[in-house]
Amino acid sequence: MSSLYFLAAAAAKAPKPEDLTPKFWQPGMMWDSIFVLLLFLAIGIMIQRARAGLPIPPIRKLAGLDAIDEAIGRATEMGRPIHFSPGMSGFTAVTYAGLAVLSEVAKKAAQYDTRLLVTNRQALVQPVAQEVVKQAYLEAGRPDAYNPDDVRYLSDAQFSYTTAVLGLYQREKPAANILYGYWMAESLILAEAGSQIGAIQIGANTNTFQIHFFIVTMDYVLIGEEMFAAAAYMSKEPVLTGTVVGQDMFKIAIGLLIVFGTIWATVAGSSKGLVDFLLR
């Protein structure tokens, strides 16, 4: 219910008519603020519907996520550990998606009694990752199996982290390698090395400059924004699904806006009139 309260609070902060002097908005911010407000509403409404049990469209199948089960299963069969990393960035949206998936992976690993190794590059993410895994083991009813040493902060430096992970590959030979987050240049090294130890590899990267390394070397790849839908899809929680649906509505709207703008520009000979209106 807390989110409902917050939504109400956000709504209460919406502009009252008498405040609408020209100086009320920061210059050029009118459409930006309306945009964000609409996004709040779209997501809010979808969460409401999900909570009330009203039908919302299901999220389509994401091959990369279903493969996680397969990967954990194989690691269990082979008696080798799973490696998971929530990526290189600190507390950004991407890391949350990574941690949400980590939570699900940890639950399954606990159920199957398969060792889960988590590596971190960010000192600040480390305690959170530990908590997430601990909690997941607790929920799976295996708090005894949780070993805090298996959630490791390796280094803050990009390549020290990378080489430390390579060392870990060599020593522990994980059978499943899940790299789920924001990755930079290390994506090439990690994915290549992972394929050489013969692990099933699942990757997700929002960094579109580097994702091709995952595409050419990994078994399953979630491209860019698919990762955000993943947390919702895996946990099957109506609230999260609702936010993804709200997000989708927005994407469709933006797509239609682009089509509309293109038609406008083609017919009118220029998009200037429309853009000027929208930039107010």
Binding site: F91, A157, S160, I215, V216, I223, T266, L274
Partner: protein, 200 residues
């Protein structure tokens, strides 16, 4: 130590790190662990000289900004994680950074995002613009997760989207190759030209 000695050491360390290409070995591990230590120590020293000292001496003492003691204490709360039973206190500074970061992206990114959309309102008066439009729309369709994609335009959009993304990723791969080869060139010219003077 002289500049030339430094260059020799740099060249030696480069070769030690590259020994990894043969196989992972103690020399490489030594350089790696040395690097972690040096970088971490330098970082703390840097923050001490460039942030901690000026904040205390100038902002707080000289200019009397005693209100800054509040965030200072809030920052110190992060260490509460090491005290049993006080862990939740360490979430206060984290909550601030997280909320702040989320607020920042919601407040500032829409302007950049809007510009991208406005720039996509193009006239369909040339082959290039038509291709641009089709690729863009199909790429957006690829990232729609709740509409079924087994039939009709969604199916075609989804496939076209996937293939257009592959062109984008292919060009990323192509240019990244040059970027990474540059790194070797940089190191070679350091070892052979600057340090050992083998090539002029």
């Amino acid at each position: 130590m002289s500049a030339q000695t430094g260059l020799y050491i740099g060249a030696l360390l480069t070769i030690m790190a590259w020994s990894y290409l043969y196989k992972e070995n103690p020399l490489f591990r030594f350089t790696e662990h040395l690097y972690i230590g040096l970088v971490t120590a330098y970082g703390v020293g840097y923050t001490y000289h460039n942030y901690l000292v000026p904040i205390i001496t100038k902002d707080i003492v000289q200019q009397g900004g005693y209100s800054l003691i509040i965030p200072a204490v809030a920052g110190l709360l992060i260490y509460a994680r090491y005290i049993r039973g006080w862990v939740w206190l360490s979430r206060i500074p984290m909550a601030f950074w997280i909320g702040y970061g989320a607020g920042y992206s919601l407040a500032y990114t829409p302007a950049v995002f809007m510009k991208q959309i406005f720039d996509s309102f193009i006239q369909l008066n040339s082959i290039n613009n038509i291709i641009y439009f089709l690729v863009l729309v199909s790429a957006i369709m690829f990232f729609i997760f709740t509409v079924k994609k087994d039939a009709g335009p969604m199916k075609w959009g989804h496939y076209a989207g996937r293939y257009s993304l592959m062109v984008a990723f292919g060009s990323a791969f192509g240019s990244i190759t040059m970027a990474y080869l540059s790194l070797i060139i940089g190191r070679l010219s350091y070892v052979l030209c600057d340090a050992l003077h083998l090539i002029k």
